[in-house]
Symmetry: C2
Subunit: 327 residues, 2 copies
Amino acid sequence: MNDVARLAGVSIKTVSRVVNDEPGVHPSTAERVLAAIDQLGFRRNLSARNLRRGSSTGTIGLVLEDVGNPFYSGVTRAVEEIARLRGRQVISGSSDEDPGRERELALEFCSRRVDGLLIVPAGLQHSYLVPEMRAGTPVVFLDRPAGDVVADTVLVDNIGGTVEAVTHLAAHGHRRIAFLGDAPDIFTANERLRGYREGCVRAGIGYHEELVAMGPHDESSVLTTLQRLQTMREPATAIVAGNNRITVYILRALAGVAERPALVGFDDFELADLLSPPVTVIAHDASALGKAATDLLFARLDGDNSPPRRVVLPVRLVPRGSGEVHA
Amino acid sequence: MNDVARLAGVSIKTVSRVVNDEPGVHPSTAERVLAAIDQLGFRRNLSARNLRRGSSTGTIGLVLEDVGNPFYSGVTRAVEEIARLRGRQVISGSSDEDPGRERELALEFCSRRVDGLLIVPAGLQHSYLVPEMRAGTPVVFLDRPAGDVVADTVLVDNIGGTVEAVTHLAAHGHRRIAFLGDAPDIFTANERLRGYREGCVRAGIGYHEELVAMGPHDESSVLTTLQRLQTMREPATAIVAGNNRITVYILRALAGVAERPALVGFDDFELADLLSPPVTVIAHDASALGKAATDLLFARLDGDNSPPRRVVLPVRLVPRGSGEVHA
DNA sequence: CCGCTGGGGGACAACGTTGTCATAGTGGCC
DNA sequence: GGCCACTATGACAACGTTGTCCCCCAGCGG
């Protein structure tokens, strides 16, 4: 800006006026300034501007588990969309389920003075955010709740979803329904397990420990588990998969197998309807989750001071075939 | 920092020293300062720091078409990964194929003084970036080349890929091979069309306009096109799909159809191997693309001044079944 | 001719940091 | 005791902006 001012033969304040379309600059002067700006390729430094004006940085921070996962990239897309409507940029990072990394990212974003923070928690401790929250930075947790702070949270109905899955399978005559879930220290995995258990009890088929296999899972652990489930005294005739990755592992393991158990997966995924048989899922909308969380964040930014809210989004069972196999 | 200094009874410079682990502060003083920092929840303002030090902002900008698309979210993930290793945050945004939006995002990122820019071009004009590039901001284009500037670019071998697809189908006896591509003003779509044409010529089956349908496509346009292709005098017996979305549209349109044409899709996608028949694709690696581009960007940041490079990443045909149907 | 008005423009401080340099005190050595 | 070296600390400017306040001067009315 200094250089522009020198080249145009005016003070930097006048350049500032031109750049900001402020009134009170003679057209001929403005023209000289614009020419200088063009010639020098000047671009206003937003950081300096925000610093001086004490205004918001126009950014929001997004910490999620893995942008590469279609579920989270759907969330990201929705967040971006709304942020854009409100004139904000999104800075994002993946924690890979590492609490340390989550914290590092969140605090880094705070150092950059983001206007707000959206976090898919990896860990259970979030008191590190208390100073920021007290300082007025709104924080919304999504997909999973915060560990040890009370804050806005947007979840999906994990328990209701698995209850429904089990109920659905039981209605088709299954009494030996297995559950393959993610690592039990992950909130959603644990909730879904609870839903599974409740569903079993409600259906009157009882909860049997030997039908449950919590993760972390990979392709081979799923394969082993399935073998165990099918060779036990009373084999499982149906499976509830705890998330989209596990569903896919199961599908791979079952590829080419003649006698397939019924299957209901948590999380919808592309092409589920084109497989044979098409896969019945508990669907919930990544973009709805992102939207709800971002809306909440902006409500806070708009001055909403009401007590922290917990929003639970509904899920719905989408019957496609794999879950409608009779026992 | 001012408040911290006041509370600790020292000058702000001393606080700065403590925050930056600079030597020459008495342990007892440092302790007082740390206590004050803790009590006030102070967090250093990175913008101000970077402004003062004239150092990099530690961010890189990523403009892509749509984070929600698994291909681009794979790219994003790879970019993030490498940026992280080099201590940078990623700011990203989706252009939705809108050149105006692409420009807006890129310039916004420049205003934020990103250290470098990664762009999946939506438009054909990128001279708006010339001032930035001259000012030393490295820019790498990925997936598609820049319109009217010479710059680093990382592409995949679109032509080679479709040539291979056609050759593969012709080797299985097909002589009526159709091509469904994206809108022809999209670079990759156009290249793939060229590859298709060249493949036809090389295979000695000739290029026939009526077998080509360029987009933009949606589910219904694909359906109509397929009907046309199958009811013409000499029906198409094989199809090359120009990208992953189109492949999926075709799969949906063909669901339940008995007499299926052979199919090779450009872009691999999850579960392609579990469909029946499994889908033969031209695969290329999103994360390799992201990694190559980011590596190139960092090489520039490390001072590499060699002339702009154009990297073309290989693709490979993955036969799975849908492309090995004999005519 | 004087004073007032208002448009056009500039000087300066400040945002939150950090780099540079100065200074006060302390202890050791001749 | 005087001087030096060294440690601990602070004052101040500057990064690139913008908000505040002030000034100059032309034009106009009396």
